[in-house]
Symmetry: C2
Subunit: 310 residues, 2 copies
């Protein structure tokens, strides 16, 4: 049983109650806790030494990343982050300066986005540092954007550039909070999520939740310079387009919107966010699964996000 099969089994029969607007399965849980105008967003995310960072990573960047990942999930619902709790599990011989550095990076990013750090705990994990962030946010009632509303005919958009995040951007990315709120305020966004596992895998969540399929245009993929460089320099590296499809930790927004709104969207975006690329990379279609098209034809993307290029 792999991680995904385990999660599917564990989340099948979860206890619920009338406060739950949306439980497991989207970027955040959505709760109605009685505020007349807002719903509550609730999310946790953990980073682990040796997997998401190393002892060589500057501690400020570790703390920053731990919180930024969670902020990106609030963005993925078109919400606003409010307050976080920080759990940090440490070996007994922890370096206090290193831990203080983690908090410095985390606090700086929290301050930038108006997030209160309202506590948490330290506990012991003898072999490695683990940081788990629990984050609350709010979203105007009815304005939360789920993964499940994509419709056949929708255009698929992605912000920024994809691939090669491990070259450094996974430690420095900006959560797309302002961008997502602007999108939800000015357009009817049918489905929205943030890219954490790679476009091919993440888009699968949208098409599954929405019971549709998707066609991606290979030439339309906005490939990051780091992915192109890496593909050129190392013979063993992935082709750049494959990196854009399958590298994780892009933390860009992926969304579906009615095709008729696409031109107005692109015009408005250029004025509002001139420094950030917005690319139409394909369309939602009836059916299921994801197809990748280029001038040589089309091929299916498989469940792991991996595709064999001809």
């Amino acid at each position: 049983m792999n991680e995904f099969e385990l999660i599917a089994r564990l989340t099948k029969h979860l206890p619920t109650n009338p406060t739950v607007v949306a439980g497991a399965g989207d970027d955040c849980a959505v709760l109605d806790l009685g505020a007349p105008e807002t719903l509550i967003l609730f999310k946790t995310d953990a980073v682990v030494e040796g997997i998401h960072f190393t002892r060589e990573t500057p501690p400020e960047k570790i703390g920053r990343k731990a919180l930024a990942r969670c902020l990106s999930d609030i963005a993925a619902m078109a919400g606003t982050p409010t307050a976080a709790l920080v759990t940090i599990a440490l070996p007994k011989d922890f370096d206090a300066e290193f831990v203080a550095g983690i908090y410095d990076g985390l606090n700086a990013l929290a301050g930038k986005y108006g997030v209160a750090i309202v506590g948490g705990e330290t506990t012991t994990n003898p072999e490695r540092i683990l940081i788990s962030i629990a984050l609350l946010g709010t979203v105007p009632r009815g304005k939360q954007v789920m993964r499940s509303g994509a419709k056949a005919g929708d255009a698929i958009f992605v912000t920024g550039e994809l691939g090669g995040s491990l070259a450094g951007r996974h430690l420095d990315f900006e959560p797309r909070l302002a961008e997502a709120r602007w999108l939800a305020e000015h357009f009817k966004i049918h489905a929205l999520m943030d890219l954490s596992d790679g476009l091919a895998g993440d888009l699968r969540h949208i098409v599954k939740a929405s019971k549709v399929g998707a066609v991606l245009l290979k030439t339309a993929l906005p490939i990051a310079r780091a992915a192109k460089l890496r593909a050129k320099e190392a013979d063993s590296a992935k082709p750049a387009a494959l990196a854009a499809l399958t590298d994780g930790e892009d933390f860009e927004l992926l969304f579906a919107i009615a095709s008729k709104d696409a031109v107005k969207l692109l015009d408005g975006w250029k004025k509002k966010f001139p420094g950030l690329k917005l690319s139409c990379i394909g369309k939602i279609v009836a059916g299921e699964g994801i197809e990748l098209r280029d001038k040589n034809g089309s091929q299916k993307l498989n469940a792991n996000g991996y595709v064999h290029f001809a």
Copy 2:
């Protein structure tokens, strides 16, 4: 720098915002997210293999304990738990049945207390299982009970019996949710917390936050049978009263209330909760620190909760 010194340093300059009613330093954070009648309680708590449980612990009890600890913190604010996220960090060779058992125990307790499990994540921790629970609750506006309101002259009460929890009760304790809500509804409770680190250490949090001192009566301590048995059977074990003062994981309620309300409280309690002991164990005094009195005189409890018995 030990854990407590580190926490003191890390929590000195935390970012905040206007939603924060109470941040780090009490049993839960308290937030105002716009609900007219309620405030939001927010808490995380982690359990780690080899520290809070072992591979020999039945997995259902591990999951139960992970959630019950957090529920006890909601009780400690006189609140009602609402929704939880479950983070479980696993070695790569995890036993799926064991993990499913953890969730079974957790879900059963959640169901019992009306708590929705609204998601979470699995991640990798190669050497041991770590479970972190993030929990939301609500409390009627103004009815949250903090640690900081104890006044000189107050009577100090504790529910249940103390000490010897490691003999088994740390896996089976009931969070005192109904009891705490009843207390807050019917009495003016000045300060309230749950006992997780042991009475001597935890009472210190109340006297520090309230800027007062306390006197405990040794003969009034409700000592658990498990602590008495252990003291008798093993020469090396702690004296039973010391176990009641310093053993962790009792998860009983500790609170301060005006002395004039004490008789009415005891009468009402006996009718409402006939199966659960409620003991007056001492009083709040002006000054600082904690004193333990018996027929031979009095002695100070030190910062670690340890006391040398004469």
